[in-house]
């Protein structure tokens, strides 16, 4: 792998940028690998990367039915934060956040992790109680999250409307300064480049159509549109399609897949200096390096794999944005799109071994998986390599739905009384 640097760019500029090597190779699949990862999104590619770099396992194939990074990795609003309430969630997301800080150097690929701060707004007494609970729990977990008055919130994000006349006035905010955004495509590409350079095969346009198991139940490989590919360990990291793949292995999952839409505005000069989120008014916004306002909110209400959703969902989202930022009504929506998010009953991921020997699953990230990418890949690689979960992902089992030991961040936010 040739190193990227400003000098490399200068050198290439002299020869018309013809000397760049392929960022990742596109090999033909071999008959067998040590590990197959199903799904070349950020989490899957990160898993392959850490299998290679941390565990020395390089005989790995990442199978992708479309193009790498083309699922939720390429469709999300790139918010990164770790100010989760429960120790389990805080553990995994902060593990990820620590990896984000330095990921560009680690990968020698500028993923543009931008610690511009994530500010979550409170609009009523109940919001204050919930967000302060987060602030206190985060502090004792060593995770930065601070409480702001409405005036401090406006100072941090000048276009924010803190008028008391608003339908739901801002009454406070919790700010995680280490939170922010990153360039989603670069994350997938950087991991792909790093994994490929270490011998991992990334095989695009290769759809898994079946999971093969031996008489003793253990995994032996996968059927694909490009033939059977053997492996004694298969990690499923297929986002919205995870339950489809797991069904092929005979494992039924506590998952439902919903459409999640997002949109960007036309690019404008810098105006929103951080990420702003509101659960009560229900939308979130940031501004990309390119200048586009990046906006999202909740899912559509029904199970769907269509990658589209209703206009009324975008309407509610923009209603909320213009409520928080009335100056944006003359801005224009440039592009909207939909993804498929797989949601567990407690809205926390499953990152675990499965009842099938040799089969591992990393799914259920719902609407918030991007931020976990490095941490998720790191501990999932550990789980596959050691056939044993890393302490950080140990709580994120499938069994928790049988025992009731849920990690229910959304329930903890409760509802207005």
């Amino acid at each position: 792998m040739k190193k990227y640097s400003v000098f490399a760019i200068a050198r290439e500029a002299m020869r018309g940028h013809k000397g760049w090597e392929e960022q990742w190779s596109s090999p033909e699949p071999k008959k067998e690998y040590d590990v197959i990862i199903v799904g070349a999104g950020g989490h899957g590619l990160a898993t392959a990367y850490y299998l290679a770099t941390v565990h020395g396992i390089t005989n790995v194939a990442v199978l992708e039915k479309g193009w790498l990074g083309g699922g939720n990795t390429g469709r999300n609003t790139t918010i990164i934060r770790s100010n989760y309430l429960y120790d389990e969630s805080a553990g995994i997301y902060d593990h990820a956040l620590k990896l984000w800080d330095g990921l560009s150097q680690e990968l020698n690929y500028n993923v543009m992790y931008s610690a511009r701060g994530v500010m979550m707004l409170a609009h009523n007494v109940h919001d204050i109680q919930v967000l302060k609970r987060h602030v206190h729990a985060n502090r004792l977990n060593g995770i930065d999250n601070e409480w702001l008055t409405p005036e401090q919130a406006k100072e941090f994000c000048p276009p924010l409307n803190i008028s008391k006349q608003a339908r739901y006035p801002v009454v406070g905010a919790a700010l995680q300064r280490r939170g922010g955004t990153a360039r989603h495509d670069a994350v997938a590409w950087g991991y792909a480049r790093g994994a490929s350079a270490r011998g991992v095969h990334i095989i695009q346009n290769c759809e898994v159509t079946g999971v093969k198991r031996a008489a003793n139940g253990a995994v032996t490989g996968v059927e694909t549109t490009r033939g059977f590919i053997g492996a004694k360990k298969v990690g499923v990291v297929a986002a919205g399609h995870s339950s489809v793949i797991m069904n092929m292995a005979g494992v039924r999952m506590p998952l439902e897949s919903y459409p999640l839409q997002a949109l960007v505005s036309e690019p404008v000069k810098p105006v929103v200096p951080c990420v702003v989120m509101s659960n009560t008014v229900h939308a979130y916004i940031s501004q990309s390096d390119k200048g586009e306002l990046v906006i999202g909110a909740g899912t559509d209400q029904y199970v769907s794999y269509s990658q589209t959703g209703g206009l009324h969902i975008l309407q509610h989202t923009l209603d909320a944005i213009c409520e928080m930022f009335p100056i944006f009504t003359r801005m224009k929506m440039l592009r909207s799109w939909g993804g498929i998010v797989d949601v567990t009953p407690d809205r926390s991921p499953i990152l675990a071994k499965t009842p099938v020997p040799g089969l591992y699953v990393n799914c259920g990230w719902g609407t918030g998986g991007f931020k976990a990418t490095p941490g998720s890949g790191h501990v999932f690689a550990h789980t596959i390599a050691r056939d044993d979960p890393h302490p950080i992902n140990a709580p994120f089992t499938i069994e928790r739905f049988r025992t009731g030991r849920l990690i229910d961040e959304a329930a903890a936010a409760a509802v207005a009384h």
Binding site: V244, R252, P254, L255, S257, Y302, V303, S306, D342
Partner: protein
């Protein structure tokens, strides 16, 4: 925005009038205390989440307020049919090859 036929009102109405209520034909056991932890997990958490034909529940919230069932393709979001709550799962779904 989907257009949904309420089998009680016998009309197609916009999605805004309806609430999705999850997968259909998951019956609550009459002897629920006798269920094992596994059975309860299946009943309450495990879902088929099909890529293709789904049997699902809707409520005509801002209409007749009735719950009913629908057959829909989750790839195209097209409704194949709707039917009343309590009616059996259709053995044959029009236009769907089994």
């Amino acid at each position: 925005m989907l257009l949904i036929r309420c089998p009680y009102c016998e009309e197609e109405r916009p999605e805004l009038e309806f609430r999705n209520a999850g997968e259909a034909h998951i019956a609550r056991s009459a002897n629920i205390t006798g269920e094992s932890d596994d059975d309860f997990e299946k009943f309450f958490f495990i879902r088929s989440n099909p890529k293709g034909i789904i049997y699902e529940r809707w409520r005509h919230m801002h209409g007749c307020a009735r719950f009913f069932n629908a057959v829909r393709d989750t790839v195209t979001d097209k409704f194949i049919m709707t039917y009343k709550a309590g009616e059996p799962k259709p053995a044959k779904v029009p236009g769907v090859a089994k």
